[in-house]
Every structure is written in structure tokens, then in C-alpha cells.
């Protein structure tokens, strides 16, 4: 009671509080008849997805109560490839948790590196005898089906690694395709020039060269920027869009002109270029629907559906191109030019690939660069290191030489 209050007021206040609560609704939940919504991370029981378990024993060893019992045997798996090595694999025979010992600390779930152990909100597994609380893997697997899906991410949260990876992969693929297409066009234009005898061919090549200088399709660029894409990506896509448009224009022109050779050249180049021109926002609706139905998050579904669309479009265009070239050769035209056109972009592509990946084959495993070796020895490095570095230097030089050669050709 506050010292200033007259005596007895505190007593009356106490009576007032209790009588007020008499007329309020009891907060009891009539449990067996009503059930509460449990928190998503409720620690009811530990569930096991035994298909994820590799019998690494981490859970069993980390358990402070030693209440996880694991038994397993090794099995030999035949080699996947002919002539390969046979592998051994652990097969889970028994996985039991004694819930009469378990103190629900959740360390086993934390340490499990393969997501085999989960918290399930199930809690109604009391028994009349303690032995009944020892549950084997069949029962633990049943509980795994009651594990709720993880709660949705917060607004603006960083997406999970697998989703962002999938998106990044698709975008990288597309950029690569765009770069490839540019190279292909260059390559297509380059051999054309020496062989070029008609003004139309030059006309066809000219805008492509122009494109390379940095022309972009402003409309596409603006749209992509508006969609929140990075400037770099928008620029590259806009470039691709520009190329596509130009191609279409040229093709239309060529068709209008009706020149045999030009006609043969343009469609042959076009399919390759078409690979780039997959629209930015297009997705494969079928794939998208299927993934959504499977319960995948929307972003992942969209990314995968995009990838699927690109793949399909490529396949379709390639098929078209093949039928086109088939027609071209069948049309009794001078066979040299189309075949040359068909072959040279591919070669250029290969060269590009090689350059990119640095995958030049070099012979002579033991060769070293004597100059580098001597220098390193002089610097006081050990012979082993000097030899290794000199070897690497030799390989590097050789590769460079080979690339230069190819470029020259």
C-alpha cells in the first residue's frame, strides 16, 4: 500500500481486482476438445527422415543423454561406370530415440549435417510404462510427415541460396548465349567478306558490325531497367534485342530482294542468332504450373520455368535451322557458300569456348620453362617449387601460343 493511501484502501483494491476477474471469460482452453495452434517451431518430438541419414553418428555422439541408438552395416555398391571402383555405403538398420531419457535439447537436430532429424510439433505420445517411450525409426519416420513447412521468409529477406543460385544460373546462361551469338555473327560476317561478291551481302554484314559498336535497343533497355534489372544485364539484353530486330529487318529486305545467295546466307545465320533472342520475361507456363503444384516457391518456379523456356526455344530454333539448311543444300545452289557459313560460326564458337575455359590441350607433360626455372633457383627457391612453377609457366606459354595461332587463322 502506498504510504499516502488511507488504511484499508489496498485491501479493497485487492477485492476489486478479484471480483472483476470473476466476471471475465476464463482463459482455459478445453484441451482434448479444443486444440491450440502450436508455434511452427514447437519442440514436440524428434522426427527422423531415415532416407537422409548416412549413419554418420554425429547425433548419437553429441546427445548429452546418450539416448539415440544407431545400428548399421556396410554395403558394397557396384561401380556406376564400367571399370570403375566399387564403393561402400552405410545402411541404417536401427535408429531409436529413448524419449524417457531425452531432455529435448535439440542438439541432435542441430548437428545433423543431412537434415535427417527434425522437430515435430506432435506431443501426444505419453505411455503408461517407460519402456514404451523408446521409439524405433518406423515411428520416428511417421513423425517426420508431421513436420510443418518452414515459415515464409520475411518481406525483403535474402532469398535462400538454392533459389538465388538457380536465378543466377539462368541469367548467366543467357548472357553467355548473348555473347556467343555476337561472336557467331562476327564469325559469320568475317568469312563472308572475303567470299563476298554481291552488294547485298555487304549490306547484310554492315549493320551487324554496327551493332558490335554498342548499339542497343533503347526500348528493351528502358523496360529492363524499369523491371529493376542491373544496368549491365539490361544493356546486354538490349543489344541482343537490337541484333534481333536488325536481323529481322535484313531478312525482310533480303527476301524482298529475292537474291538466291543472300537468301541462303541470312536464314543460316539467323537461327544461331535466334538463340539469343529469347524474350526476357518469357517463361514456360507448363513447367511453372507443375513446379507451383509441387509446392515450390514462386520465385524458384519462375526461374526454372524461364530456363525451361530458353531450352525449348533453342531446341526449336535449332530444329528449324537444320531444316532450313537442308532445304538450302537441296536447292542445288553453290554448295560451298552455305556449308562454309554453316561451319565457320561453329568453329568460332569453339575457339571462343576454348579461350574462355583455357582448355587448350598441351603435350609434353614433363617440359619446363628453363628461363623461369633458372630465375627461381637464383632467387633461392627450392628446386621442387621452381620446377613446378616452371612447368606451369611452360604450359601457360604454350597455351598462349596456340590461342594466338588460332586467332591468326
Amino acid at each position: 500500500m502506498a504510504p499516502s493511501a488511507p488504511p484499508g484502501v489496498g485491501l479493497l483494491k485487492g477485492l476489486g481486482v478479484t471480483i472483476k476477474h470473476l466476471f471475465q471469460r476464463p482463459s482455459t482452453l478445453m484441451y482434448p476438445y479444443e486444440r491450440d495452434e502450436l508455434a511452427p517451431r514447437t519442440r514436440g518430438v524428434i522426427a527422423l527422415m531415415d532416407e537422409n541419414c548416412t549413419v554418420c553418428m554425429l547425433c548419437s555422439r553429441e546427445c548429452p543423454d546418450w539416448c539415440i541408438y544407431i545400428e548399421s552395416h556396410k554395403e558394397t555398391v557396384p561401380p556406376a561406370k564400367e571399370g570403375g571402383r566399387a564403393r561402400t555405403r552405410n545402411v541404417l538398420d536401427r535408429f531409436a530415440i529413448d524419449f524417457s531419457l531425452c531432455m529435448y535439447c535439440g542438439i541432435c537436430i542441430e548437428v545433423c549435417p543431412f537434415d535427417a532429424l527434425w522437430w515435430s510439433p506432435e506431443f501426444e505420445y505419453s505411455e503408461y510404462h517407460m519402456d514404451g517411450l523408446l521409439h524405433e525409426k518406423e515411428k520416428l519416420r511417421e513423425w517426420a510427415d508431421t513436420v510443418p513447412p518452414p515459415p515464409p521468409l520475411e518481406e525483403g529477406a535474402v532469398p535462400p541460396a538454392e533459389v538465388s543460385d538457380a536465378i543466377a544460373k539462368v541469367e548467366k546462361e543467357r548472357e553467355l548465349a548473348a555473347a556467343k551469338a555476337l561472336e557467331a555473327k562476327q564469325a559469320a560476317a568475317a568469312p563472308e567478306k572475303p567470299a563476298g561478291d554481291g552488294a547485298k551481302k555487304a549490306q547484310a554484314a554492315e549493320p551487324e558490325v554496327h551493332v558490335k559498336a554498342g548499339e542497343i535497343d533503347q526500348e528493351t533497355f528502358d523496360r529492363l531497367i524499369a523491371e529493376g534489372k542491373s544496368e549491365r544485364m539490361a544493356r546486354s539484353k538490349a543489344k541482343a534485342a537490337y541484333v534481333k530486330k536488325e536481323k529481322a529487318r535484313l531478312k525482310a529486305e533480303a527476301e524482298a530482294a529475292g537474291a538466291g545467295q543472300a537468301e541462303a546466307a541470312a536464314p543460316a545465320a539467323a537461327p544461331k542468332a535466334a538463340e539469343v533472342t529469347v524474350e526476357a520475361g518469357e517463361i514456360d507456363q507448363e513447367t511453372f504450373d507443375r513446379l507451383i503444384a509441387e509446392g515450390k516457391p514462386e520465385r524458384m518456379a519462375r526461374a526454372k520455368a524461364k530456363a525451361a523456356y530458353v531450352k525449348k526455344e533453342k531446341a526449336r530454333l535449332r530444329a528449324e535451322a537444320e531444316s532450313d539448311t537442308g532445304e538450302g543444300t537441296g536447292a542445288d545452289e553453290p554448295a560451298e557458300v552455305p556449308s562454309e557459313l554453316g561451319a565457320s560460326p561453329e568453329a568460332a564458337e569453339e575457339a571462343l569456348e576454348a579461350r574462355k575455359l583455357g582448355d587448350v590441350q598441351v603435350e609434353g607433360a614433363g617440359e619446363i620453362d628453363q628461363e623461369v626455372f633458372d630465375q627461381l633457383i637464383a632467387e633461392g627457391k627450392s628446386e621442387r617449387i621452381a620446377r613446378a612453377k616452371a612447368k606451369a609457366a611452360w604450359v601457360k606459354k604454350r597455351k598462349q601460343a596456340m590461342l594466338d595461332e588460332e586467332d591468326g587463322a
Binding site: 485491501l11 485487492g14 477485492l15 481486482v17 478479484t18 476477474h21 471475465q24 476464463p26
Partner: protein
């Protein structure tokens, strides 16, 4: 015991006739009264207990019993059946006979009080001329059962509880009796029926306004109520049980049916003390001061009733008793337990002087008036 009272103590038999005195034989009214008292003793405390469960639950945002019977009304019956089934444990060091008898010694006086408690016009087993004296004397015997239980358990917590109970019951007996004496002085009789009648006829000095004794003796009523709570060892005066200090006080070693007897004693005590307060201060079965009961004649319009009037009177009495029980439960929920020294201090330094003052004022007023 009943036999003893009805035959041996004949000089104290009072004026009012019980409705149970039917026929000329001796045995039929005796059996009727036996059934009446035992029925009251085994039913009304259970109602009070149910009320306590429910009210305490709701005040603590719970529901109280809900499963046993409709709305959990049979919960205490179920508890009783459970207690009967339980093993009757007696500590090996206990004084076995005393240990076994103690709950009965506590229980029987609580039962005996029902003998004279008037619930309506003629609705009582016996109207003793020394009714008030008899009630106070009988209820004082209960402390003996508590002391016996505490000592015989051979357990220091039980002994503490028993001694605390002894000290507490003695300390609060005094203000309780002094407050009751003031009522007897004002009514001019010790008969409980006589006190009800006196209240119905009591007028405010020089006017025609009927008043219950709770108005002129509001101090006495407050003293009686607090002392009754302490006599019953009800919170906030439950130091003899003190479950956070003494395990369960004198009941620590008791289980099964013996424990149930102690519990029944407590609930019966709540009912009899409430009934006594209704008779002494709240006008008995009178609905409101100055309002005669329909179907009744006689003093204050409360006697010589027909069946409807009698029934209404009983309903009114039970309503008042349960209201007082409710207040007891309310206080239990609201207040924490007092300390042992605070308890004794309140009894001797506050309650006794106030009760003496109350008695002096009433006596002087009675003489002057």
C-alpha cells in the same frame, strides 16, 4: 449424542417446536432429525466446496471443475469416492489410536452444530434455550481434534501446524464469543430461534423501522466474521496449514478417508459459521428487514408458516449462507497469508479490545434503552 441431548438435557429444551416432531412416538422424530442433520452435514458442505472451486477458478481465470457431472457439480463426490479408495497410511512412529481418532474428534463437533441451526420456521432439529452457548462450546471442541492430529503424527510439521492451530483457535475464540455475547445481550436470549425472532421485532429507537443486528452491531459483525475465518483456518488465516511453510500443517501425514474428514470439517465449519452469522446478524430467514415472509404469521411475520412460506424461508437462509461462503472464498483469493506473529498481534491487540468495546456499547445501550 442426539439421544443424550433430547432426553438427558430436557430442562434446556426450548419453546419452539420443530416441524420434525411428528406423531406421539419417540423414535420417528428421532430418525427424522438424524436424517435431517446428517443430510445437511453431508450435502451443504459439498455445495459450499463446489462454490469455492468454481469461484476460485473464475477469479483466477480458470473454469474450475467441468468434467464430473453437469458443470462439474459432482467433483467433490468423485473426490470423496477417491479418498475412500486410497490407502489409509499411518506413520510407524505415530500414536496410532490418537492419530486415528483425531479426524473424528474434529468432525463430530462440526456436525453437532447443525443440530440447532435454524434454517426456517420450524426447520431445525432442536431449539435449545442455550443454543448460542451450545454452538460456541461444540465448535470449540474441534481444536482438540486438530491438536491431537498434529501431535499424534510424529512429524514436526504436523506438530507445528497443530500448535499454531491451538494458539490461533484460542486467540480468536475470545473475540468471537465476545461478539456473540453482545448479540445475546441485545436479543435477551441464547436461543437461536429466539434471536431471529428478536431481530424481526427489533425497531430502530423510537421508530417503526425494523433493523437486523448487523446495523447496530456492524463492528461486532466484522469481528465475528474475521474471527470465524481464523477459527476455520481459512486464508488469510491459514497458518496452521501453511502449505508453503509447513507442508500441510496438522494434515501432513493424513491421507484417504481421514484426510477427507478434515476437509469435510473445514467446509462444514464454513457453512455452520455462515449459518450462525445469518442467525445472529442477518435476520435469519427474513428476506429483508421489515418484510414478512408470505404465508407466515406470528412474530415479525416469520412464524406459523404454511408449506410455501417454510420453503421460501429455507431458500432465503441458504442464499444468505452461500453469500457469506462466497465472501470467504473471495477473501481467500484476494489476500495472502498473514505471518504468525501478525495473527496473534491482531487477535490480542485489535480484535479483543474492539470486541470488549462493542460489548460495552451494546450493554449500555440496552440498559439505557
Amino acid at each position: 449424542m442426539m439421544l443424550l441431548v433430547t432426553s438427558g438435557v430436557a430442562p434446556y429444551l426450548a419453546q419452539a417446536e420443530s416441524i420434525l416432531d411428528v406423531g406421539e412416538t419417540f423414535i420417528i422424530p428421532l430418525l427424522l432429525k438424524l436424517v435431517f442433520v446428517l443430510g445437511l452435514f453431508f450435502v451443504v458442505p459439498l455445495v459450499a466446496g463446489y462454490l469455492e472451486h468454481k469461484v476460485m477458478g473464475r477469479m483466477q481465470h480458470r473454469r474450475g471443475p467441468v468434467e464430473a457431472g453437469p458443470f462439474g457439480t459432482l467433483q467433490l463426490v468423485a473426490d470423496g469416492i477417491k479418498f475412500i479408495q486410497k490407502e489409509d497410511l499411518i506413520p510407524s512412529a505415530a500414536d496410532k489410536w490418537v492419530f486415528a481418532i483425531a479426524p473424528g474428534v474434529a468432525l463430530v463437533p462440526a456436525m453437532l452444530v447443525f443440530l440447532v441451526l435454524p434454517l426456517g420456521p420450524g426447520v431445525f432439529a432442536l431449539d435449545l434455550e442455550l443454543g448460542l452457548f451450545y454452538v460456541l462450546a461444540a465448535s470449540s471442541v474441534s481444536v482438540l481434534g486438530v491438536l491431537m492430529g498434529g501431535w499424534a503424527s510424529a512429524n514436526k510439521f504436523s506438530l507445528f501446524g497443530g500448535l499454531r492451530a491451538g494458539g490461533q483457535l484460542i486467540a480468536y475464540e475470545l473475540p468471537l464469543i465476545l461478539a456473540a455475547i453482545a448479540v445475546a445481550v441485545q436479543a435477551g436470549t441464547l436461543s437461536l430461534v429466539g434471536i431471529v425472532e428478536a431481530q424481526a421485532e427489533f425497531m430502530l429507537f423510537g421508530s417503526g423501522i425494523n433493523l437486523w443486528y448487523v446495523i447496530p452491531q456492524v463492528l461486532g459483525f466484522a469481528i465475528f466474521f474475521v474471527a470465524a475465518l481464523a477459527e476455520l483456518s481459512r486464508p488469510p488465516f491459514d497458518m496452521p496449514i501453511g502449505d508453503s511453510e509447513l507442508v500441510f500443517g496438522y494434515m501432513t501425514e493424513y491421507s484417504g478417508i481421514k484426510y477427507a474428514m478434515y476437509m469435510l470439517t473445514e467446509y462444514a465449519g464454513m457453512v455452520t459459521m455462515s449459518g450462525l452469522m445469518v442467525v445472529l446478524y442477518l435476520g435469519g430467514w427474513q428476506l429483508l428487514p421489515g418484510v414478512p415472509m408470505p404465508g407466515c404469521e406470528g412474530a415479525g411475520g416469520l412464524f406459523d408458516c404454511d408449506a410455501v412460506g417454510t420453503l421460501l424461508s429455507v431458500v432465503v437462509t441458504f442464499g444468505k449462507i452461500l453469500a457469506l461462503v462466497f465472501v470467504m472464498v473471495w477473501l481467500r483469493v484476494a489476500y495472502p497469508r498473514l505471518r504468525e506473529d501478525q495473527l496473534q498481534r491482531i487477535a490480542w491487540l485489535v480484535m479483543v479490545p474492539l470486541a470488549l468495546l462493542n460489548l460495552a456499547v451494546v450493554t449500555i445501550a440496552k440498559v439505557v434503552y
